[in-house]
């Protein structure tokens, strides 16, 4: 018997500063003091070395009872805090992912799988022994033991363990909804699954590694920024180190503690301390939207996207087309046409068929509303491209205009062309015309219309403001595609799209230097998903699509791509803004520390003490404290990202320069002065 286990729904979101997360983060902040960890971050590594050295001076001072033990202690303590605060920022950012990973690990418990051999005999084996290519059978109520594709049968599956969504989904053999994930539960029916992942490489394993950040590598932009910060650190190291001989020339000796304090204040600790937290939080924000990014690089690339390929169906329009009008052919009574349309669709369970029934009823259908006894339904096939009903005698059909005309001719009728104007008009307006025929006669045309998703026009406007070009991908003919493109406000379209033309489009866009993002779910989307710079696969899609993509949307919502792009932009913006803020901060720190350093050699330099800080010690300490506290103060900003509204680059730039550049110059003057006032009120200096 397979052990039954209750499955929790994966918690989608938790508060930014959850008590459990904060508790764990505080502990981690101390663990991360390990120099082997710190060296990954050159700026904070320098601060840690500074903390060790100043602590050494403090110990020397208390043992020799000389010097300024109190001052050295205060500087050493605040330098340690600076490192700890930066560690805390990173630990909090990781915290939410770790909580998710803990949950997912519980989901990943070993189960007993029913493995099938070639002969179809079932052997019970541990799920840990399954290899890619194995076949397993899963019955209602059982956990799916491993990732794979359904090769036989169809079932409803509860995927809430992975997606957090409680509504069950259908997984069936063939088509684009064949992928199943290990750890999810079959609710009804039974399926045969071909395992696609070896143990340790499953979707769940990858997901755990991703949310936990275990495999987190620095993204290209993070590396570039780290180099810039390291370069600035070296510049300040030179400026501060040479200040020691310069002071000797001026007739004063600077204590190493003061020089270290100045160095730590000048090097970009604010961004250096928050850089990794910003990146982790960016990936986490994507995760909160229920999108699983396979790398931080993918999220970053999303911010750079120039061209967005959007599938028409499901993204721009609602999946189903709806009938909006039924037009009779000349000489046919409107009531008759409606009646025939109604009868043809009564047994038709497709959404289009049902919408025709509904429209006919709204039109006030009279007369016989039921199919006669013995009527048989002729379902739609890709070959005939029509469906209909054979009654005792009359046959009725509805379908693609050319298919219907052919059918009428085959029946021996000579179809009139009177309706061709209407057919053309419907197609031109973006609708789909369905001709309606009874025996040898065309009796009318049904207008099926694509229904745009709400708010799409506004969304495309936003994307355009951000400089992103949108391209609609559709299998429709160019006429219909153009009409829908016009109605939805999308920039461009690719009509009669095939996997090949889609691939060509991506390559063409990339060839002219653009970055392309797309969504996809089918196996034939896989090459395009792999080629695109940002490929988002639907979780409902095939394994091939999920493997090729660099993101998987667990909700299978194609419009999610737009949100991912916005998160990517916000991530880069946060980095840039905090870098600017960090560098701009330095101006005030010079005005605090320089006059303090030369208070004895050049008392006239007190003119530069424009903040009127009380004593030299208080000035230096206030700058160091401000430098540490600003990291803590900015953690929420680093984790949430800077305020983001989709606008053009120049508007965004103007605002961010004002807030983080100009604000970055002014803020520390106020902050350092306030700290100085508090320190002197408390008689601490």
């Amino acid at each position: 018997m397979i052990p039954q286990r209750r499955i929790d729904r994966r918690p989608k979101a938790s508060s930014l500063f959850d008590r459990a997360i904060v508790g764990r983060a505080i502990l981690d902040s101390f663990k991360k003091l390990d120099p082997r960890w710190q060296i990954r971050n050159p700026v904070m590594f320098i601060v840690e070395i500074g903390s060790v050295v100043t602590t050494g001076f403090f110990i020397r001072d208390i043992s020799s009872h000389t010097g300024h033990a109190g001052f050295d202690f205060a500087i050493a303590a605040w330098l340690w805090f600076t490192v700890l605060f930066a560690n805390f920022a990173e630990a909090v950012a990781e915290g939410r992912g770790k909580a998710q990973a803990d949950y997912l690990r519980r989901t990943k418990a070993e189960t007993i799988a029913k493995k099938l051999d070639e002969a179809g005999t079932v052997t019970r084996v541990s799920s840990a022994l399954l290899r890619a290519g194995d076949l397993v059978q899963v019955d209602a109520g059982e956990l799916i033991p491993a990732d794979g594709d359904v090769i036989k049968g169809a079932a409803t599956v509860d995927e809430s363990a992975i997606t957090g969504e409680s509504a069950p989904v259908i997984r069936e053999a063939g088509g684009d909804r064949s992928a199943v994930t290990g750890g999810t539960r079959v609710l009804s029916d039974h399926i045969t699954v071909r395992v696609s992942a070896d143990p340790g490489e499953s979707f769940l394993d990858r997901m755990i590694a991703l949310v936990e950040g275990a495999q987190r590598q620095k993204t290209p932009n993070e590396i570039a920024l780290t180099i810039l910060l390291a370069g600035l650190t070296i510049i300040f190291l030179i400026a501060v180190a040479t200040l020691a001989p310069f002071s000797l020339y001026a007739g004063t000796r600077q204590s190493l503690v003061v020089l270290i304090a100045l160095l730590v204040c000048l090097i970009p600790t604010t961004i250096g301390g928050l850089l990794s937290a910003i990146g982790i939080a960016g990936m986490d924000r994507v995760m909160q939207r229920n999108v699983l990014a396979m790398s931080g690089r993918a999220v970053e690339a999303a911010g750079d996207v120039d061209t967005l390929l959007l599938d028409k169906t499901g993204t721009i329009t609602l999946g189903n087309r709806q009938a909006v009008e039924i037009l009779p052919a000349p000489g046919i009574d409107a009531q008759d046409a409606t009646q025939i349309a109604y009868l043809s669709s009564l047994p038709d369970e497709t959404p289009e068929g049902r919408s025709i029934v509904a429209l006919a009823q709204r039109a006030g259908l009279s007369g016989d509303a039921a199919l006669p006894e013995g009527a048989t339904f002729v379902p739609f096939s890709a070959y005939t491209r029509m469906s209909g009903v054979d009654m005792n005698g009359p046959q009725i059909r509805k379908g693609a205009p050319d298919a219907i005309l052919n059918w009428v001719r085959e029946q021996g009728g000579s179809p009139s062309t009177d309706l061709s104007g209407e057919v053309e008009r419907i197609a031109r307006s973006g609708g789909t015309p369905l001709l309606l025929a009874r025996n040898q006669m065309v009796v009318g045309v049904i207008h099926l219309k694509d229904i745009l998703k709400p708010n799409m026009i506004a969304r495309f406007d936003r994307l355009r403001a951000m400089g992103i070009r949108t391209v609609m991908i559709t299998g429709d003919n160019p006429l219909t595609a153009a009409a829908i493109a016009k109605e939805s406000g999308i920039d461009d379209f690719l009509a009669e799209a095939t996997p090949e033309t889609k691939m060509d489009l991506i390559k063409r866009e990339q060839g002219s230097g653009r970055l392309v993002a797309m969504t996809g779910d089918g196996t034939n989307d896989a090459p395009a998903l792999a080629q695109a710079d940002v490929g988002v696969a639907m979780n409902s899609g095939t394994q091939a699509a999920k493997e090729a993509a660099n993101m998987v949307d667990l909700d299978s919502d194609p419009t999610k791509l737009i949100e991912v792009v916005e998160i990517g932009k916000q991530l880069l913006m946060t980095r840039g803004s905090l870098t600017t803020f960090s560098i701009a901060n330095d101006v005030a720190k010079y005005f605090a520390i320089l006059p303090a350093m030369f208070a004895t050699a050049y008392p006239v330099m007190n003119v530069l003490n424009i903040m009127r800080l009380t004593t030299p010690q208080s000035a230096i300490l206030s700058a160091v404290i401000f430098n540490a506290l600003i990291i803590i103060a900015l953690i929420p900003l680093a984790l949430r990202g800077v305020a983001y509204r989709p606008r053009g680059a120049s508007a965004v730039l103007r605002e961010n320069v004002l807030v983080y550049g100009v604000g970055g110059i002014i803020a520390p003057f106020i902050g350092i002065k306030l700290i100085d006032i508090i320190l002197s009120l408390l008689h601490l200096t």
Partner: protein, 567 residues
């Protein structure tokens, strides 16, 4: 400050501005190898040079080949000049029978001219023969300037090209810069200067009797021809020690104005060449505007400080502006305009003594150079140094629009940031570290003319000027073995340590794809970008040099306010 003083500055600026487009456009044509109005005469000469040198002008170089060509050319030239200065006693055109230069001074001088610095620890009129002046110093005045222009063109090509590996041919760029740009302007300029009274002869000293009855020796020599390229190529090495303060090098108010124009002309026009070559002249104008704002900002301070005079002297009851070390015939405005121009470019020619400026007045030339010679900068070197700051600004500010930073459509990634920050790192490294060494050791302090903060400024200025390849001297600091060797090394590294990352960046950019511009792109020609560029330059410069400057000119000014001076 007077209205007339400001009018001089504005007229100079307008005279430069008028030529930005025609001269810049002409240079773009020359380096794109397009026909121009000089082609009928010069193209055959150009071809002949290539034939003689065995150069295939269609052969393009990758960045490291280009670098190797620049280095090989420069170091052969260095050896040639060193040899010339060490053997001039046996060579012709030496009417004054000057002896060979001492080895350390010859090294310092050779490096100085080869690197376009023209730092002068020697006095031209009493140590260098006419042959050495013409075949050695003037040669380098031309080719070091031409090499600077070639490097800037190589970087521009790197920016303009997409998915290519090459940056052009150094020999072709060098030849064209000399032949089409430097030589024609120099020939015309030389005649104008001769017209103004600058000597151009091979005579030995003339002896004259002054009104008071003293006997006076007047230097002659091929001065006008060297004067013009000294300014045009932002070299700055005077034929005589007094440089452009001497009435022979700079006899009239018009020659003063014309020489200032020559200093600025190419540096300013190259911004347009850049815009033209990247096919968006707005890009070039944005740089020109940023340069102009920094230029006038500096001028305002230095002019104000000199006009206000020294507060320490005011306290002795003597009112008025600071006229010490200035030529009365030029006056305050023209002297401060020159001081600002010569340091805003990497020229280094002077018409007044910067050492005698007030503390704040002396601070501006110092700061101009510390910013990295990017205001107009040296011919070519100013533009490429400026573009390194553009890359840095694009990277920091570009992130704020929510995209991987792009410069003209090309992503600024790891390699680009590395090279940009390396080129910017060099200035603090080569200015602050040698200064720190000099103030610690006896030989660094032995030849100091003053004590206290002013003495500190003299050392700081020397290393700032040599590193920036400016060559203007604060005076007060005498040559000795220590300074001859260290400033020589500093000039060498100041030039070539920057050239390497510049060309590497050019190579990296040339290989990239360029994304087309969209509403989401960070533009590098908007007013806000100009503001950001100036902000980045000032903040990086200030953060690096504020402590050092505070201990030199700034504290000196504060002490002057209290009445203290330094002997």
């Amino acid at each position: 400050m007077t209205l007339i003083g400001w009018i001089q500055a504005v007229v100079l600026f307008l005279a430069v501005l008028v030529f930005v487009k025609p001269l810049g456009g002409f240079m773009a044509r020359v380096f794109n190898g397009e026909r121009n109005f000089l082609s009928p005469i010069l193209r055959p000469v150009e071809r002949a040079i290539y034939r003689l040198g065995g150069i295939n002008e269609d052969e393009e170089m990758a960045w490291y080949t280009y670098l190797f060509a620049v280095l090989a050319f420069s170091f052969v030239g260095l050896a040639w000049l060193y040899l010339l200065l060490r053997t001039q006693q046996w060579l012709p055109l030496n009417p004054q029978r000057f002896a060979a230069m001492s080895p350390d001074l010859a090294w310092n001088t050779a490096v100085s001219f080869m690197t376009n610095t023209n730092w002068q620890f020697y006095s031209g009129e009493s140590t260098v023969s006419y042959f050495s002046q013409m075949a050695g110093l003037a040669w380098h005045n031309f080719v070091s300037a031409a090499a600077g222009i070639a490097l800037a063109i190589a970087l521009i090509r790197g920016i303009a090209r997409t998915t290519l590996k090459t940056l052009g041919n150094f020999w072709v760029d060098l030849t064209r810069a000399c032949l089409y740009i430097l030589l024609p302007i120099s020939i015309v300029g030389c005649l104008i200067l001769v017209m103004q009274g600058v000597p151009q002869n091979f005579h030995s000293y003339e002896t004259a009797k002054s009104v008071q009855g003293f006997s006076q020796q007047i230097t002659g020599g091929p001065m006008a021809s060297q004067e013009v390229i000294k300014e045009l190529g932002t070299n700055g090495g005077g034929f005589v020690n007094a440089n452009s303060a001497s009435p022979n090098e700079n006899p009239t108010p018009f020659s003063d104005f014309f020489e200032l124009w020559l200093i600025l002309a190419i540096g300013a026009a190259l911004t347009y060449t850049y815009g033209k070559m990247v096919k968006d002249t707005r890009q070039g104008w944005a740089l020109f505007i940023a340069m102009s704002i920094l230029f006038f900002g500096g001028l305002l301070v230095v002019y104000w400080a000199e006009a206000a005079g020294n507060p320490a002297i005011h306290q002795l009851g003597i009112a008025g502006a600071n006229m010490e070390g200035k030529e009365v015939r030029f006056g305050l405005a023209a002297s401060t305009l020159w001081a600002n121009t010569t340091t805003a470019t990497s020229c280094g020619a002077v018409n007044a003594m910067h050492d005698s400026f007030t503390a704040l007045g002396g601070l501006i030339p110092l700061v101009n150079m510390q910013l990295g010679e990017i205001i107009f900068g040296g011919v070519g070197s100013g533009l490429y140094a400026k573009l390194m700051f553009v890359v840095l600004t694009v990277f920091i500010a570009g992130l704020m629009v929510g995209r991987t930073p792009e410069f003209l459509g090309k992503k600024i990634e790891r390699r680009e940031v590395t090279f940009a920050i390396l080129s910017i790192l060099i200035t603090p490294l080569l200015v602050l570290v040698p200064t720190a060494v000099a103030v610690l050791i006896p030989s660094g302090l032995a030849t100091l003319g003053n004590t206290g903060p002013h003495g500190f400024s003299e050392i700081l200025y020397a290393f700032t000027s040599t590193n920036a390849n400016n060559g203007s001297a604060f005076a007060g600091l005498g040559p000795n073995l220590f300074y001859n060797l260290t400033t020589g090394a500093n000039m060498l590294f100041g030039r070539f340590a920057e050239v390497i990352p510049v060309l590497a960046l050019a190579g990296a950019l040339a290989g990239k794809k360029a994304a087309p511009e969209s509403a989401g792109t960070f533009t590098t020609y908007s007013p806000i970008f100009v503001g950001l560029l100036i902000g980045t330059i000032l903040i990086v410069g200030a953060l690096t040099f504020l402590p050092a400057d505070a201990l030199g000119p700034i504290v000196e000014h504060l002490l002057n306010l209290k009445g203290s001076t330094f002997q």
